[in-house]
Structures are given as C-alpha cells and as structure tokens.
C-alpha cells in the first residue's frame, strides 16, 4: 500500500512539475548566446535588447549575453542546440549564414535548424547593388552590357555575401568575377569605393550609410518595392526571387522547448522589440528593427531553406 | 677543446634542429599537394624557399669552406658547436639534459592536471607541490602562496570578468 502511494505521488509529481516550472519561468538568469565575437551587428542587437527584455519578462531575472565565437557561428549554434530545453539558453542566429552549412552537408554539423524552437525575429536586411558615386554605370543593365566580367567585391567563399553575389549575378545574367576575402560588409563595400572592383552586392543598411556620406550609389535593390529612390527593384529587374536574398536575425531556443516556456519567451521578446526604448535606440544608431514573432520567424526560416535548397550548387563544397 | 667531438650526441645536437625543421617543412609540402592549386600556391612557395634556407643552415654547420662562407655572411653570431666563438666568450651554459627534462615534466604534469580536473584545483596543487618538492620551501608557506594565487585567479576571472575557468574533462 505504501509503495503504491509512493509510486502514485511520484507520477503526479512528474506530471505537475513541468507545469509548475513553466508557471515560475523564468526563475534564474537566462543565457543569450551570440555566436560571433563581440562588436558585430548581431552582438549589438542582443546587448541592446537585453535590458529591455528583462523588463518584459514575467519575473525579473538577468539576461546574460554570452559570446561563443568560432567556426563561423557553428559553435554557438551547437551550444544552443545541445542545451537543456528549459528556456534558460537561447541564441541569435544569422539566417541564411547558419543555414548554409546545413544545406551544404558539412560533416560534423552539430545542430539542426529545423528542430530548433523558433521564438522571434529582429528583422531582415535586404541586399542591393551599389557602385561608386563616380561610376559610369547607372543601372544593372549597364553592368550586363559590359563585354568583360564585372568585378564584384565580397567576403570569403563560404560567406552569405559571396553566395548572394553569385546567385544574384546568375539570376540577372551578369558575367562576374568575384574579388573575395574581405573581412566584413563595411570592408567589401569600402573596397568597391576604393576601386578594387566595379560594383558590389551587399546589405542595404550598410550601403545606405555610404550613400549618405556621398561615396556610393545604389543602382538596384533586391526588394519587391524599392526603398531607394532611383534604384530599380527586383521586379523591375525581372527577377522577383531576388528578394529572397537577405540576412535575417532570428532568435531560437533548443529543440523540444515546453510550449508554455516558448510562449513566454516569444511574447516577452516581441514586447521588448516593440518597446519605445528599442525604437529610440534603433533610430539613433540607424539599425533597423522589424519585430517578428515565433510564427514569422519559422516562416522566414522555411522560406530561406527552400530558396537555398534550390540554389545549393552555389554554396561551395561541403567542409 | 679545439675540434668538435664526432660522437653521435654531438652530431645530433648539431644537425638535429635543421633536420627537424626539414621534416616539418616536408610534412607541410606533402599536405599542400592535397589541396586545389589556388590554395596550395603560397604554402608551396614558402616551403620550397625553406628547403633552400635549411640546406644553407646545414651547410653552415659543417666545417667545410663553403660552410664557413655561409656562416660568415648569414650567421656570424653562432660558431661551430664546441668551438668557442671568440676568446673569453663562455656563452651561456645550458642546464644539463636531466634538469631540463624534469622542468618540462613539471609543466607537462600541470597541463595534464588542468585538462583533467580543471584550473582551480590544479593551480594550487601544482604551485604548492612544486615549491615543496623542488624549492624545498616550508609546507605552510607553499600552501599560502598557492592558495593566494588560486584566490586571485578565482576573484579576477570568475567574479570580476565573468569568465568561468575550465572545469576539466572530468567535470564538464
């Protein structure tokens, strides 16, 4: 009789404990993993949102931004993937940056983005085509018409910028030669201004800063509606699919996160991103934030998966 | 000593280092051929130049006249081993092989300890035991120093910098 009672109590305990846990969530500090070194764009997003997010959680705990660089983000991603699904470890992910190794089939990959619990998105940056202000090329058609390969500057061969350049130039029918190896978007955009190349395909926010200072001209944007006056958009250039080329900042937790915990995290994140303090920071620093909830994050992920699976041949050989 | 001893150990000490460098260079060269042409260009260039330089180094260690020439122009600071460079130049006495090995051994043991049990236990253990065994310091003093170093590390890294110190393979 005692044994049966003990067993029953244990069963009841096991069933109610997760629910009780969820109701108390969060009860201790939450680790927000950043898979790159301090100082990059992703790092800044997390550090800017952390104090605001703390205010929107049901219980007041600390959000601890933790940099786990190395292997282009794979290490940080693996850490989140393997973490205990209790809601105390979440991370920010560069999509499609983290996607590419998975689609390419890199050996030793220790995460599966399809299984992560997606919580929200900070938004996506679109790409565009830019040339130095003094350049004779006014439209993408001018680049196409060139009888020699157009020189584009980009980062290394496994980067998003590189594959975006390859995919876009093929879609647009531009003969290209890529001058690769620059370290970061500021660097390869500056390179084209310096004259290392003829044109550049890069993230619009980065290029827009150089437009403001008068060094660059954007001649085409890979958006459905062009945000840059005078620049053609993707539809005008004849390739609406170009709008799928983007850099997204998505937040996720480990697989199998209990739904209540995920909901709490997701809603708090959304509230934080919509907080006026966030908007103020965004305006002052010139870094755009487009709050997206869990569903939209999942949607972005799936869209990107489909796109890059189609263009997987551009992603380079598997490591 | 007017002429270098031709014993094996002297030969090894003289020609060993450049041969080791040669081995390392060859390993890189062989590995380089496994990569596509664009990736292997520069490493191969450096590798082949190294082979030439190492050959010159080997030459400079022989007692031939060409060796003498190489020595004079490219490496005047070191003479042939066993021959003093100039009168009255004692040079630095290197400690005997056994003492070196012991010294390296202590650090190797510390490295192993850190990897197995982590930084915070291994550090005081290493510092204290080294001071007691090799330095023949009193046990109390050694433990004091060892503990203060461990405390300093804990305070500065774990507390102030929030950099958790490695816990070791046993505990990760």
């Amino acid at each position: 009789m005692n044994k049966l009672l003990a067993a029953l109590t244990t069963c009841v305990g096991m069933v109610t404990a997760p629910v009780a846990m969820a109701a108390d969530f969060p009860a201790k500090n939450i680790q927000f993993v950043i898979p790159v070194s301090p100082g990059g764009g992703f790092d800044t997003y997390v550090r800017a949102v952390a104090p605001i997010l703390e205010r929107h959680l049901p219980q007041s705990v600390n959000i601890v931004p933790t940099n786990i660089p190395a292997a282009g983000g794979a290490r940080g991603a693996a850490q989140v993937y393997r973490a205990k699904p209790d809601g105390y470890t979440i991370g920010i992910f560069n999509i499609p940056g983290m996607l590419v190794p998975q689609i390419r089939g890199d050996s030793d990959l220790q995460y599966d983005l399809k299984k992560m619990t997606w919580l929200g998105s900070f938004g996506q940056d679109g790409y565009g085509v830019g040339v130095p202000t003094a350049s004779p090329y006014k439209t993408v058609a001018d680049l196409k018409a060139l009888d020699r390969p157009v020189k584009f500057t980009a980062s290394g061969p496994s980067s998003t910028a590189y594959s975006a350049t390859m995919i876009a130039t093929d879609m647009l029918g531009i003969k290209r030669e890529i001058i690769s190896g620059y370290k970061g978007s500021n660097d390869y955009v500056l390179a084209v201004i310096r004259g290392d190349g003829d044109a550049v395909i890069g993230p619009l926010p980065v290029m827009e800063k150089f437009v403001e200072s008068g060094e660059l001209r954007i001649i085409g944007t890979f958006e459905e509606k062009s945000s840059v006056p005078g620049a053609q958009n993707a539809i005008e250039m004849g390739q609406p699919d170009l709008s799928k080329l983007s850099v997204g900042r998505l937040v996720a937790g480990p697989p199998d996160l209990p739904p209540e915990v995920a909901k709490t995290l997701s809603e708090s994140l959304m509230a934080a991103m919509q907080d006026p303090a966030m908007a103020t920071w965004s305006r002052e620093s010139g870094i755009a934030v487009e709050p997206g909830d869990a569903a939209s994050a999942k949607g972005i992920l799936e869209g990107q998966f489909n796109f890059y699976e189609r263009y997987s041949k551009y992603l380079g050989p598997a490591n | 000593m007017s002429a270098p001893r031709k014993s094996f150990s002297a030969l090894a000490e003289n020609f060993g280092p450049p041969l080791v460098f040669l081995a390392v260079t060859l390993i890189f060269i062989v590995a380089a051929y496994g990569y596509p042409p664009a990736s292997r260009e520069v490493p191969l260039l450096i590798g082949y130049v190294l082979i030439v330089l190492i050959a010159l180094d080997i030459l400079s260690r022989t007692s031939t006249s060409t060796g003498e020439l190489v020595r004079r122009y490219l490496n005047p600071a070191s003479g042939l081993p066993g021959v003093p460079k100039s009168a009255g130049d004692e040079g630095e006495e290197h400690p005997s092989g056994q003492k070196e090995l012991l010294a390296v051994g202590w650090v190797a043991a510390f490295t192993a300890a850190v990897m197995i049990v982590g930084i915070l236990p291994a550090v005081p253990a290493y510092v204290a035991s080294y001071m007691i065994v090799e330095g023949r310091k009193s046990v109390k003093f050694s433990i004091l120093i060892a503990a203060s170093i461990a405390l300093f590390l804990w305070l500065s890294f774990e507390m102030i910098l929030s950099i958790p110190l490695y816990r070791g393979m046993l505990f990760e």
Binding site: S37, P38, G39, R47, A50, P65, A70, G156, I179, S180, K183, G184, A191, R194, G195, D196, K209, S213, T280, S285, G286, N319 | P17, F21, V24, T25, F28, A31, Y35, A38, V42, I46, L50, I54, D57, V70, N75, A77, H94, K99, E100, A103, V104, W106, V107, F110, T111, V114, M115, I119, V123, Y126, V127, Y130, K137, I145, L153, S156, S162, I163
Partner: protein, 500 residues
Amino acid sequence: MLDVALTAAGNVFTFQSLLFLTIGMLIGLVVGVVPGMGGTTALAVFGPMTVGLDPYSALSLAGGLMGAVSFGGSVTSILINLPGGAPNAATCLDGYPLAQQGKAGLALGASASASSVGGVIGVFTLLLVIPISKKIVLAFGPSEFFLLATLGLVTIAACAPGRMLRAMIVGGIGLLFAFIGFDNVNGGTRFTFGLEHLWEGIPLAPAMIGLFAFPEMIELSAKGGSIAKDKGQVGLTGTLDGVWASFKYWKTLLRGSLIGTLVGAIPGVGGTVAAFLAYFSTVQASKNPESFGKGNIEGVIAPEAANNAKDGGNLIPTLAFGIPGTAEMAVLLGVLVLHGMEPGPTMILHHEAEIYGLILTLTLSSILASVIGLMMVRPLAMITRLDAHILVPSVIAISFVGAYANNSLPGDIVLAFVFGVIGYLLIRFDYPRLPLVIALVLGELAERSFAQAMMISGGSWSIFVTRPISALLFALIVMALTYPMIRTLLQRRHSVEEVS
C-alpha cells in the same frame, strides 16, 4: 571645431566621467599585465556593462581602458620576458636584458614615459588627420596591405642580428603555421591534420604565451636563482633616469610614435607590427646596432611609443568608415553602437563631440596610466628578485589561465604547452623566437592581400609598383633588405682599411 572640442572637454572633466576614466585605466593596467589578455578582452567584458550609462561615461571607461593596456603589457615583457600582449613582444628584446642586469626600474621608467608620449602623439596625429582620414583609408588597398605585411615580415631578418639565416628559417616555419586553418580567399581549411581545434588557425595569444613564458621559466627552473643576476643592484634609482631617457633619446621617441600611428592606421596590420617596425628602424638608425638585444634603452623606448601611438592610428579607419582594423576596434565600435552611435562614415558627422570626448580620455589615460605605473615600479621590480621556485609555478599558472581565458577553449591550454616546448627547443638550439610571432601575425594578411591584389590587377604584378603608395612601400622593402648588408660591407671595408 573648437566649440565641439570645448563641449567634449566639458563633458569629460566631470566627476562621473573622470571616475569611469580611472576605473577603466585601472582595469586596463591589470588586464594588460596578465599575459594573453589585452584591450580586446577587457573592452568586451566591461564595455557592455556600460549599457544604461550616458555615452561620455562609457567612452571614458573605454578610453581609460585602451590607453592603459599597452603600458601594463610592457611590465611583464620587461620583468619576465613574457609579453603582456602581442604589441609588447618587441619590448622584451631589450627590456628583459635590462631587467637581468638589475635595471628593471630604468626600463619600466622609460616604458612609462615612452608610452605616454607615444599615446599623446598618436592622438594628436589623429586629430590632425581626421579631415583627410577618408582619403587615407581609401588609399590603402590589398596591394598596399601586402607590401606592408611583407615589410613587416622583412623585419624578421633583422630582429636577430647575426642570426639572419636562422631567423628566416623560423619565420618561414611561422608562415607555414600561419596558413593553418580556414582559407579566407579560396575557402576550405588547410593543414588542420584532422584537429578541429585548428580550424580557425593558431590563436596568437596562447602561442605567444607558450613561446615566451615557458622557456624562461624552464631555464630558471633548471638553473635556480632569480631573474636579476645580481640581486644587489635591483633598485629604484634607475626609474627617473628611465623616464628622462625617453626625452633624451627624443628622436627615437618621435620615430617610434610616428611609425606607431601610421601603421596603426592601416586596418588589419595592428600594433604588433607597429612595435616591431619601430624597433627595427631604430636598430637601423643607430650608430651601434650590435648593442640591441643586450639592454639598449632605445630598444624599449621605440616599441613602447609605437604600441601606444597605434591607439590613435587605429581610430582613423574606425571613425572614418566604421572599419575596425583590429578586434579591439571592433569591440569599441560595438560599445559605441550600444550607445546609439551608428558605425560607418556618418558617425563622425553626427557625433563629433562624443568622438572628441573619446580622444580626450584616451590621451588622459595614456598619461595617467604611466604615472600610476611608475608608483608601482618598486614592488614590480622586486619580482626580478624573487626566488625561481616561487616565480616559476606562479608565472606558469597565471600564463596558462591567460591562454585559456582568451577564447575559453581548453584546447588553447594544450596549444600553449606545445608552443612552450617549441619555444624552449628554439632557444636551446640557438634559434630566435620572435620571427615565429611576426609570421603568425602577418602570414594570413600577406597571403590574402596578395591574392586579392592579383584578382584586382588581373594577375599582373605591376600593381605593386604602379600604385604610388605601393611603389613607396616596395622601395622601403628593398631598402630594408639591402641596407643591413650594405652597412656590414661598408663596415668591413672600414676595418680592413684601418688595419692595413
């Protein structure tokens, strides 16, 4: 411009800002001393803590930190031949021999004053140059980077007088090591031999810690005694002489500072190269180059001025275009962004006052850190009197932790040990170690820039002489390579003539 500067000054000279300046400076000094940790780690840890503070407090903290690290790093370079950070490696060459001669105070004093003046000159140059900073950054492309890296590599031959052949061999091996890891230009990993830890290449800090901490400690451990060979001589009297020495050798000081600023302004090249180039050029310009490496005070003044001046130089591309030339600058940019300053070419347009504030705090810190450091010279110099059996395990323990803390990777501890063995073997068999460090720092930049230059020019080598700055650098390289040989030849001819 003056009114902006006054606004900035008004905001910096408040109690709160000065408080944060002091805090930053103390952190910088301590972090600088710990081997393997430098401004980057410190900024990365403390920078984000400033969220919620006003921008001037945050900038005061950052400026305070950055201005103090280089001097902190020189302390261990001089006292135990272990660079506190890569830019301090050149300081070991003459700093440590001075400590061995019981003149640690002299060396530390010189380092303090050289660091201050270097920092001030670097910042002053930055201010002068800000209006044309964009032109400068745009003038340096892959072709120039390649030649600069080569110029730095050429110093390998000169950093071990009398051992040029062996220096070049070690440098070559170092270059091979530099190629380990991910190839940024062509993709794919090379020479990792199956070790995942090597995917990103050989991390500089643990390798340097191993190369420099280990051998000295092993020797001490096997021989016993203390660093200062004659304990009785270790004293404080040298310190003020040291401080004054920087001004006595003002040409060296100026040369070091200018080289530091210029080289620091080139993204990607960094303070280590600046310090080595400053050292190397001082050796060449000296009337008795053979005295270097044995305790020539100018060999401390030049690199220490350079590695502080580089902070001013580093800010040029960072502020002009938001292009951080070094990891430290990248972290600084992150801190600036956190406080609502957008990185990129517009930052300096929209936030002039804050930028001047940062510059001012950097200057102040550079000077104050040296003053505080000087007050600590006596206890610090006493380290050279410590018995080996206390010093050795302490240094090894702290160094290895520094190696680990760099990236929080346990593999780095093993790496430090491996490089320690390599370093010991190198000095045991009379090969110089410094070329390995130089090669590790510059190898990747050199290869990548070369490949990019070739892509830009379409395979033509003429790019290195047709671009004006490239041509100048090319000439400098040729000069650097031939000058020592010409000089030796001329000296030989002199001595032959004297004899006959």
